[in-house]
Protein backbone atom coordinates (compact mmCIF):
# COMPACT_ATOMS: atom_id res chain seq x y z
CA UNK A 1 0.00 0.00 0.00
CA UNK A 2 1.11 3.46 -0.72
CA UNK A 3 0.24 7.12 -1.04
CA UNK A 4 1.11 9.21 -3.99
CA UNK A 5 4.71 10.37 -4.15
CA UNK A 6 5.06 13.75 -2.54
CA UNK A 7 6.81 16.52 -4.41
CA UNK A 8 7.71 19.44 -2.21
CA UNK A 9 5.93 22.46 -3.71
CA UNK A 10 8.83 24.64 -2.60
CA UNK A 11 11.31 22.57 -4.57
CA UNK A 12 13.29 24.87 -6.83
CA UNK A 13 12.02 24.67 -10.41
CA UNK A 14 14.80 23.03 -12.35
CA UNK A 15 16.20 23.68 -15.71
CA UNK A 16 15.26 20.11 -16.26
CA UNK A 17 16.83 19.48 -19.60
CA UNK A 18 20.02 21.49 -19.08
CA UNK A 19 23.08 19.77 -20.47
CA UNK A 20 21.20 16.81 -21.95
CA UNK A 21 22.37 15.48 -25.32
CA UNK A 22 19.55 16.55 -27.70
CA UNK A 23 19.94 13.52 -29.99
CA UNK A 24 19.85 11.01 -27.13
CA UNK A 25 16.94 12.88 -25.58
CA UNK A 26 14.98 12.71 -28.83
CA UNK A 27 15.65 8.97 -29.13
CA UNK A 28 14.60 8.46 -25.51
CA UNK A 29 11.35 10.36 -25.95
CA UNK A 30 10.61 8.60 -29.24
CA UNK A 31 10.98 5.24 -27.50
CA UNK A 32 8.50 6.28 -24.81
CA UNK A 33 6.10 7.63 -27.46
CA UNK A 34 6.21 4.24 -29.19
CA UNK A 35 5.08 2.67 -25.91
CA UNK A 36 8.42 0.93 -25.35
CA UNK A 37 9.84 0.58 -21.85
CA UNK A 38 13.08 2.03 -20.57
CA UNK A 39 15.48 -0.52 -19.06
CA UNK A 40 18.18 0.13 -16.44
CA UNK A 41 21.21 0.37 -18.73
CA UNK A 42 19.49 2.65 -21.25
CA UNK A 43 20.48 6.28 -21.54
CA UNK A 44 18.00 8.47 -19.65
CA UNK A 45 17.81 12.18 -18.73
CA UNK A 46 19.18 12.98 -15.27
CA UNK A 47 15.80 14.32 -14.19
CA UNK A 48 14.06 11.08 -15.23
CA UNK A 49 16.47 9.04 -13.11
CA UNK A 50 16.20 11.43 -10.16
CA UNK A 51 12.41 11.55 -10.11
CA UNK A 52 12.07 7.78 -10.49
CA UNK A 53 14.51 7.10 -7.66
CA UNK A 54 12.61 9.55 -5.45
CA UNK A 55 9.25 8.05 -6.34
CA UNK A 56 10.17 4.35 -6.11
CA UNK A 57 12.16 4.91 -2.94
CA UNK A 58 9.28 6.76 -1.23
CA UNK A 59 7.00 3.95 -2.32
CA UNK A 60 9.33 1.33 -0.81
CA UNK A 61 9.58 3.24 2.48
CA UNK A 62 5.78 3.50 2.57
CA UNK A 63 5.48 -0.27 2.36
CA UNK A 64 7.93 -0.78 5.23
CA UNK A 65 6.46 1.92 7.46
CA UNK A 66 2.91 0.97 6.42
CA UNK A 67 3.45 -2.44 7.94
CA UNK A 68 3.86 -0.85 11.39
CA UNK A 69 0.33 0.41 12.21
CA UNK A 70 -1.19 -2.85 11.00
CA UNK A 71 1.51 -5.05 12.48
CA UNK A 72 0.56 -3.62 15.85
CA UNK A 73 -2.68 -5.62 15.66
CA UNK A 74 -1.17 -9.04 14.90
CA UNK A 75 -0.87 -9.91 18.59
CA UNK A 76 -4.45 -8.78 19.26
CA UNK A 77 -6.27 -9.92 16.11
CA UNK A 78 -9.73 -11.34 16.90
CA UNK A 79 -9.24 -15.04 16.26
CA UNK A 80 -6.76 -17.34 14.59
CA UNK A 81 -8.02 -16.86 11.03
CA UNK A 82 -7.75 -13.08 11.23
CA UNK A 83 -4.31 -13.34 12.80
CA UNK A 84 -3.02 -15.59 9.98
CA UNK A 85 -4.47 -13.27 7.35
CA UNK A 86 -3.00 -10.16 8.95
CA UNK A 87 0.43 -11.77 9.24
CA UNK A 88 0.23 -12.68 5.55
CA UNK A 89 -0.73 -9.13 4.64
CA UNK A 90 2.05 -7.57 6.69
CA UNK A 91 4.57 -9.97 5.18
CA UNK A 92 3.33 -8.95 1.73
CA UNK A 93 3.91 -5.27 2.51
CA UNK A 94 7.48 -5.92 3.56
CA UNK A 95 7.97 -8.06 0.46
CA UNK A 96 6.66 -5.18 -1.65
CA UNK A 97 9.25 -2.89 -0.08
CA UNK A 98 11.98 -5.30 -1.15
CA UNK A 99 10.68 -5.50 -4.72
CA UNK A 100 10.61 -1.71 -4.86
CA UNK A 101 14.02 -1.15 -3.30
CA UNK A 102 15.35 -3.52 -5.98
CA UNK A 103 13.66 -1.54 -8.75
CA UNK A 104 15.13 1.70 -7.37
CA UNK A 105 18.56 0.08 -7.06
CA UNK A 106 18.66 -0.56 -10.80
CA UNK A 107 18.80 3.25 -11.14
CA UNK A 108 22.02 3.39 -9.15
CA UNK A 109 21.09 4.12 -5.52
CA UNK A 110 22.09 1.37 -3.10
CA UNK A 111 19.64 -0.16 -0.65
CA UNK A 112 21.86 0.99 2.24
CA UNK A 113 21.68 4.59 1.01
CA UNK A 114 17.88 4.41 0.77
CA UNK A 115 17.48 2.91 4.25
CA UNK A 116 19.82 5.55 5.64
CA UNK A 117 17.73 8.30 4.08
CA UNK A 118 14.65 6.75 5.70
CA UNK A 119 16.04 6.40 9.22
CA UNK A 120 17.56 9.86 9.24
CA UNK A 121 14.22 11.34 8.15
CA UNK A 122 15.60 12.66 4.85
CA UNK A 123 13.22 10.61 2.66
CA UNK A 124 9.46 10.84 2.87
CA UNK A 125 6.94 8.03 3.02
CA UNK A 126 3.17 8.03 2.71
CA UNK A 127 1.69 10.45 5.19
CA UNK A 128 -1.17 8.18 6.27
CA UNK A 129 1.19 5.98 8.26
CA UNK A 130 1.96 8.80 10.66
CA UNK A 131 -1.45 8.17 12.23
CA UNK A 132 -2.11 5.45 14.80
CA UNK A 133 -4.37 2.42 14.35
CA UNK A 134 -6.20 2.86 17.65
CA UNK A 135 -8.59 -0.09 17.38
CA UNK A 136 -8.94 -3.32 15.43
CA UNK A 137 -11.45 -1.52 13.24
CA UNK A 138 -8.77 1.03 12.27
CA UNK A 139 -6.64 -1.80 10.92
CA UNK A 140 -9.67 -2.99 8.92
CA UNK A 141 -10.34 0.46 7.45
CA UNK A 142 -6.64 0.72 6.51
CA UNK A 143 -6.67 -2.69 4.85
CA UNK A 144 -9.79 -1.86 2.87
CA UNK A 145 -9.63 1.83 1.96
CA UNK A 146 -5.93 2.70 2.12
CA UNK A 147 -5.12 -0.39 0.09
CA UNK A 148 -7.93 0.53 -2.32
CA UNK A 149 -6.30 3.92 -2.82
CA UNK A 150 -2.92 2.24 -3.23
CA UNK A 151 -4.28 -0.03 -5.95
CA UNK A 152 -5.62 2.92 -7.94
CA UNK A 153 -2.22 4.59 -7.72
CA UNK A 154 -0.25 1.44 -8.48
CA UNK A 155 -2.34 0.25 -11.40
CA UNK A 156 -1.79 3.67 -13.01
CA UNK A 157 1.95 3.63 -12.31
CA UNK A 158 2.40 0.04 -13.50
CA UNK A 159 1.80 1.35 -17.02
CA UNK A 160 4.63 3.86 -16.65
CA UNK A 161 7.72 3.87 -18.82
CA UNK A 162 10.33 2.37 -16.49
CA UNK A 163 10.52 -1.41 -16.96
CA UNK A 164 11.65 -2.57 -13.49
CA UNK A 165 9.09 -0.38 -11.67
CA UNK A 166 6.26 -1.61 -13.90
CA UNK A 167 7.23 -5.25 -13.35
CA UNK A 168 7.41 -4.80 -9.58
CA UNK A 169 4.03 -3.05 -9.53
CA UNK A 170 2.31 -5.76 -11.54
CA UNK A 171 3.35 -8.34 -8.98
CA UNK A 172 2.38 -6.00 -6.14
CA UNK A 173 -1.09 -5.28 -7.54
CA UNK A 174 -1.95 -8.98 -7.66
CA UNK A 175 -1.13 -9.27 -3.96
CA UNK A 176 -2.92 -6.04 -3.07
CA UNK A 177 -6.14 -7.50 -4.44
CA UNK A 178 -6.06 -9.98 -1.54
CA UNK A 179 -5.52 -7.10 0.89
CA UNK A 180 -8.51 -5.24 -0.49
CA UNK A 181 -10.82 -8.26 -0.27
CA UNK A 182 -9.54 -9.09 3.19
CA UNK A 183 -10.10 -5.50 4.36
CA UNK A 184 -13.58 -5.37 2.86
CA UNK A 185 -14.49 -8.69 4.51
CA UNK A 186 -13.32 -7.34 7.87
CA UNK A 187 -15.23 -4.08 7.52
CA UNK A 188 -18.42 -5.84 6.37
CA UNK A 189 -18.12 -8.26 9.31
CA UNK A 190 -17.99 -5.34 11.75
CA UNK A 191 -20.62 -3.24 9.98
CA UNK A 192 -23.12 -6.13 9.92
CA UNK A 193 -22.29 -7.22 13.46
CA UNK A 194 -23.34 -6.04 16.91
CA UNK A 195 -24.15 -2.37 17.65
CA UNK A 196 -20.79 -2.12 19.40
CA UNK A 197 -18.94 -3.45 16.33
CA UNK A 198 -20.83 -1.02 14.09
CA UNK A 199 -19.92 1.85 16.35
CA UNK A 200 -16.27 0.80 16.36
CA UNK A 201 -16.03 0.66 12.57
CA UNK A 202 -17.90 3.97 12.19
CA UNK A 203 -15.48 5.68 14.57
CA UNK A 204 -12.51 4.24 12.70
CA UNK A 205 -13.92 5.50 9.37
CA UNK A 206 -14.45 8.95 10.88
CA UNK A 207 -10.86 9.01 12.13
CA UNK A 208 -9.39 7.78 8.84
CA UNK A 209 -11.42 9.84 6.38
CA UNK A 210 -9.18 12.96 6.48
CA UNK A 211 -5.96 10.94 5.95
CA UNK A 212 -7.72 9.03 3.13
CA UNK A 213 -8.60 12.32 1.41
CA UNK A 214 -4.96 13.43 1.86
CA UNK A 215 -3.75 10.14 0.45
CA UNK A 216 -3.45 11.15 -3.20
CA UNK A 217 -1.81 14.47 -2.36
CA UNK A 218 -2.79 18.07 -3.11
CA UNK A 219 -4.01 19.12 -6.55
CA UNK A 220 -1.10 19.02 -8.98
CA UNK A 221 0.31 22.35 -9.87
CA UNK A 222 0.23 22.56 -13.64
CA UNK A 223 3.87 23.29 -14.31
CA UNK A 224 6.39 22.48 -16.99
CA UNK A 225 7.78 19.98 -14.58
CA UNK A 226 4.55 18.00 -14.26
CA UNK A 227 4.03 18.15 -18.01
CA UNK A 228 7.46 16.65 -18.67
CA UNK A 229 7.00 13.94 -16.05
CA UNK A 230 3.70 13.00 -17.65
CA UNK A 231 5.24 13.02 -21.14
CA UNK A 232 7.99 10.72 -19.87
CA UNK A 233 5.33 8.47 -18.30
CA UNK A 234 6.81 8.86 -14.83
CA UNK A 235 3.59 10.34 -13.49
CA UNK A 236 0.58 8.59 -14.97
CA UNK A 237 -2.46 10.37 -13.55
CA UNK A 238 -3.13 13.59 -11.70
CA UNK A 239 -3.73 13.49 -7.95
CA UNK A 240 -7.26 14.84 -8.39
CA UNK A 241 -8.11 12.25 -11.06
CA UNK A 242 -7.03 9.45 -8.77
CA UNK A 243 -8.98 10.90 -5.83
CA UNK A 244 -12.10 11.10 -8.02
CA UNK A 245 -11.63 7.51 -9.16
CA UNK A 246 -11.33 6.40 -5.55
CA UNK A 247 -14.50 8.26 -4.48
CA UNK A 248 -16.38 6.88 -7.44
CA UNK A 249 -15.49 3.31 -6.62
CA UNK A 250 -15.68 3.30 -2.83
CA UNK A 251 -18.12 5.89 -1.51
CA UNK A 252 -21.12 3.85 -2.78
CA UNK A 253 -19.65 0.74 -1.12
CA UNK A 254 -19.28 2.62 2.19
CA UNK A 255 -22.84 3.95 1.95
CA UNK A 256 -24.08 0.41 1.16
CA UNK A 257 -23.09 -0.54 4.68
CA UNK A 258 -25.04 2.37 6.17
CA UNK A 259 -21.80 4.00 7.36
CA UNK A 260 -21.50 7.76 7.45
CA UNK A 261 -18.67 9.56 5.68
CA UNK A 262 -17.79 12.56 7.85
CA UNK A 263 -18.15 15.16 5.09
CA UNK A 264 -21.53 16.86 4.65
CA UNK A 265 -20.51 18.19 1.24
CA UNK A 266 -19.68 14.79 -0.22
CA UNK A 267 -21.96 14.03 -3.16
CA UNK A 268 -21.80 13.06 -6.81
CA UNK A 269 -22.35 16.18 -8.86
CA UNK A 270 -24.74 15.11 -11.62
CA UNK A 271 -23.76 18.05 -13.80
CA UNK A 272 -20.02 17.41 -13.81
CA UNK A 273 -20.03 13.67 -13.13
CA UNK A 274 -17.41 14.40 -10.46
CA UNK A 275 -17.58 14.20 -6.68
CA UNK A 276 -17.96 17.35 -4.65
CA UNK A 277 -16.22 17.30 -1.29
CA UNK A 278 -14.90 19.61 1.39
CA UNK A 279 -11.37 20.59 0.49
CA UNK A 280 -9.04 18.56 2.73
CA UNK A 281 -6.99 20.46 5.28
CA UNK A 282 -3.69 20.76 3.43
CA UNK A 283 -2.04 22.66 6.26
CA UNK A 284 -2.56 19.62 8.46
CA UNK A 285 -1.14 17.45 5.66
CA UNK A 286 1.99 19.61 5.43
CA UNK A 287 2.37 19.71 9.18
CA UNK A 288 2.25 15.92 9.42
CA UNK A 289 4.45 15.17 6.40
CA UNK A 290 7.08 17.50 7.82
CA UNK A 291 7.29 15.58 11.06
CA UNK A 292 4.44 16.98 13.15
CA UNK A 293 2.05 14.01 13.05
CA UNK A 294 1.12 11.84 16.02
CA UNK A 295 3.37 8.91 15.04
CA UNK A 296 6.22 10.30 12.89
CA UNK A 297 8.80 10.04 15.65
CA UNK A 298 7.88 6.58 16.81
CA UNK A 299 7.72 5.13 13.26
CA UNK A 300 11.32 6.14 12.63
CA UNK A 301 12.42 5.11 16.11
CA UNK A 302 10.95 1.63 15.58
CA UNK A 303 12.64 1.39 12.18
CA UNK A 304 16.02 2.51 13.56
CA UNK A 305 15.65 -0.03 16.34
CA UNK A 306 15.00 -2.82 13.82
CA UNK A 307 18.07 -1.87 11.77
CA UNK A 308 20.18 -1.70 14.92
CA UNK A 309 19.09 -5.04 16.33
CA UNK A 310 19.58 -6.90 13.07
CA UNK A 311 22.94 -5.37 12.33
CA UNK A 312 25.15 -7.94 14.07
CA UNK A 313 23.37 -10.81 12.30
CA UNK A 314 23.87 -9.22 8.88
CA UNK A 315 27.47 -8.47 9.70
CA UNK A 316 28.14 -12.02 10.88
CA UNK A 317 26.77 -13.40 7.62
CA UNK A 318 28.64 -10.99 5.35
CA UNK A 319 31.36 -12.71 3.36
CA UNK A 320 34.67 -10.97 3.04
CA UNK A 321 35.09 -11.40 -0.69
CA UNK A 322 31.62 -10.20 -1.69
CA UNK A 323 31.23 -7.00 -3.65
CA UNK A 324 28.20 -5.09 -4.81
CA UNK A 325 26.88 -5.14 -8.37
CA UNK A 326 23.79 -3.18 -9.46
CA UNK A 327 20.95 -5.64 -10.12
CA UNK A 328 20.17 -6.30 -13.77
CA UNK A 329 16.45 -5.85 -14.15
Amino acid sequence: MYGNAYIDPNEKPLSILDGEDPIKLAEFEARIDRGEKIEPKDWMPKEYRKQLIRMIEQHAHSEIIGALPEGTWITRAPGFKRKLALMAKVQDEVGHAQLLYSAAETLGKSREAMINDLITGKSKYSNVFNYPALTWADSCIIAWLIDAGAIINQVANSKGSYGPYGRALERICVEESFHLKYGHHNVVTLATGTPFQRQMVQEALTRWWPPIMHFFGPSDKISNHTTILMRWKVKMASNDDMRQQFLNMYVPKIWDLGLVVPDVNLKLNEATGLWDYTEPDWDEFKRVINGGGPCNAERLAVRRNAEEKGRWVRKALLQKDSSYVTPLA
Binding site: I115, P132, A301, R311
Partner: protein
Protein backbone atom coordinates in the same frame (compact mmCIF):
# COMPACT_ATOMS: atom_id res chain seq x y z
CA UNK B 1 0.46 13.28 21.73
CA UNK B 2 -1.37 10.09 20.75
CA UNK B 3 0.97 7.16 20.48
CA UNK B 4 0.09 4.09 18.51
CA UNK B 5 -0.26 0.81 20.31
CA UNK B 6 2.91 -0.61 18.81
CA UNK B 7 4.23 -3.10 21.39
CA UNK B 8 7.77 -1.98 20.64
CA UNK B 9 6.81 1.45 21.94
CA UNK B 10 4.45 0.40 24.72
CA UNK B 11 6.33 -2.62 26.08
CA UNK B 12 9.90 -2.47 24.83
CA UNK B 13 9.84 1.29 25.37
CA UNK B 14 12.09 2.29 22.53
CA UNK B 15 13.37 5.82 22.96
CA UNK B 16 11.88 8.12 20.34
CA UNK B 17 15.21 9.86 19.89
CA UNK B 18 17.32 6.70 19.71
CA UNK B 19 20.66 7.14 17.92
CA UNK B 20 20.89 7.21 14.15
CA UNK B 21 23.56 4.77 13.07
CA UNK B 22 23.73 4.71 9.29
CA UNK B 23 24.22 1.37 7.55
CA UNK B 24 27.66 0.66 6.14
CA UNK B 25 28.16 -0.32 2.50
CA UNK B 26 27.41 -4.02 1.90
CA UNK B 27 25.29 -4.14 5.07
CA UNK B 28 22.53 -5.51 2.85
CA UNK B 29 24.85 -7.97 1.04
CA UNK B 30 25.03 -8.79 -2.66
CA UNK B 31 22.15 -9.39 -5.05
CA UNK B 32 21.05 -12.64 -6.65
CA UNK B 33 18.84 -12.98 -9.72
CA UNK B 34 15.92 -15.34 -9.13
CA UNK B 35 14.41 -17.78 -11.65
CA UNK B 36 11.12 -19.39 -10.78
CA UNK B 37 9.46 -22.51 -12.23
CA UNK B 38 5.74 -22.77 -11.61
CA UNK B 39 5.22 -26.38 -12.61
CA UNK B 40 7.19 -29.27 -14.02
CA UNK B 41 7.60 -28.87 -17.74
CA UNK B 42 7.56 -25.03 -17.63
CA UNK B 43 10.61 -22.90 -18.31
CA UNK B 44 12.20 -21.17 -15.34
CA UNK B 45 11.37 -17.48 -15.57
CA UNK B 46 13.31 -14.51 -14.22
CA UNK B 47 11.14 -12.91 -11.52
CA UNK B 48 13.42 -10.45 -9.74
CA UNK B 49 16.26 -10.27 -7.24
CA UNK B 50 16.97 -10.86 -3.58
CA UNK B 51 19.74 -9.55 -1.35
CA UNK B 52 21.53 -12.37 0.46
CA UNK B 53 24.88 -13.26 2.01
CA UNK B 54 25.21 -16.59 0.17
CA UNK B 55 23.47 -18.95 -2.25
CA UNK B 56 21.64 -20.97 0.40
CA UNK B 57 20.11 -17.90 1.96
CA UNK B 58 19.33 -16.44 -1.44
CA UNK B 59 17.27 -19.56 -2.07
CA UNK B 60 15.53 -19.22 1.29
CA UNK B 61 14.67 -15.55 0.70
CA UNK B 62 13.54 -16.33 -2.86
CA UNK B 63 11.11 -18.92 -1.56
CA UNK B 64 9.62 -16.29 0.77
CA UNK B 65 9.64 -13.49 -1.78
CA UNK B 66 8.55 -15.27 -4.96
CA UNK B 67 7.02 -18.56 -3.81
CA UNK B 68 4.69 -17.58 -0.98
CA UNK B 69 1.47 -17.91 -2.98
CA UNK B 70 0.30 -19.75 -6.05
CA UNK B 71 2.13 -22.80 -7.30
CA UNK B 72 5.87 -23.40 -7.50
CA UNK B 73 8.07 -26.44 -7.91
CA UNK B 74 11.58 -25.06 -8.31
CA UNK B 75 13.76 -21.96 -7.92
CA UNK B 76 17.22 -21.11 -9.23
CA UNK B 77 19.36 -18.29 -7.90
CA UNK B 78 22.40 -16.83 -9.68
CA UNK B 79 24.73 -14.15 -8.38
CA UNK B 80 24.03 -10.96 -10.33
CA UNK B 81 27.75 -10.56 -10.96
CA UNK B 82 27.80 -13.97 -12.67
CA UNK B 83 25.29 -12.97 -15.34
CA UNK B 84 26.86 -11.88 -18.59
CA UNK B 85 24.28 -9.92 -20.57
CA UNK B 86 24.05 -8.28 -23.97
CA UNK B 87 23.81 -4.53 -24.14
CA UNK B 88 20.57 -2.76 -25.14
CA UNK B 89 22.74 -0.42 -27.20
CA UNK B 90 23.68 -3.45 -29.29
CA UNK B 91 20.07 -4.45 -29.94
CA UNK B 92 20.71 -3.82 -33.67
CA UNK B 93 22.40 -7.25 -33.80
CA UNK B 94 18.85 -8.66 -33.75
CA UNK B 95 17.41 -6.22 -36.25
CA UNK B 96 17.58 -8.32 -39.43
CA UNK B 97 16.34 -11.48 -37.76
CA UNK B 98 12.60 -10.98 -38.50
CA UNK B 99 13.57 -10.60 -42.21
CA UNK B 100 15.10 -14.06 -42.33
CA UNK B 101 11.99 -15.75 -43.63
CA UNK B 102 14.05 -18.72 -44.84
CA UNK B 103 14.28 -19.75 -41.15
CA UNK B 104 10.50 -19.77 -40.75
CA UNK B 105 7.92 -22.37 -41.76
CA UNK B 106 5.90 -19.49 -43.20
CA UNK B 107 8.73 -18.73 -45.61
CA UNK B 108 7.89 -21.82 -47.69
CA UNK B 109 4.66 -21.53 -49.68
CA UNK B 110 3.90 -24.22 -52.28
CA UNK B 111 0.15 -24.22 -52.93
CA UNK B 112 0.38 -21.65 -55.68
CA UNK B 113 2.98 -23.74 -57.53
CA UNK B 114 0.98 -26.92 -57.06
CA UNK B 115 -2.26 -25.36 -58.28
CA UNK B 116 -0.52 -23.85 -61.30
CA UNK B 117 1.05 -27.20 -62.13
CA UNK B 118 -2.29 -28.99 -61.78
CA UNK B 119 -4.03 -26.49 -64.03
CA UNK B 120 -1.41 -26.73 -66.75
CA UNK B 121 -1.22 -30.48 -66.66
CA UNK B 122 -4.88 -31.46 -66.29
CA UNK B 123 -4.66 -34.15 -68.92
CA UNK B 124 -1.69 -35.93 -67.41
CA UNK B 125 -3.15 -36.11 -63.87
Amino acid sequence: MIKSLDPRITREQIELNNPINPLADMDQWETYEVFHQKKRGDQHEHVGIVHAPNLEMALLFSKEQFGRRGISVNIWVVKTSNVFASDYDDADIFETVPDKQYREAGGYKVMEMINKYKKENKKII
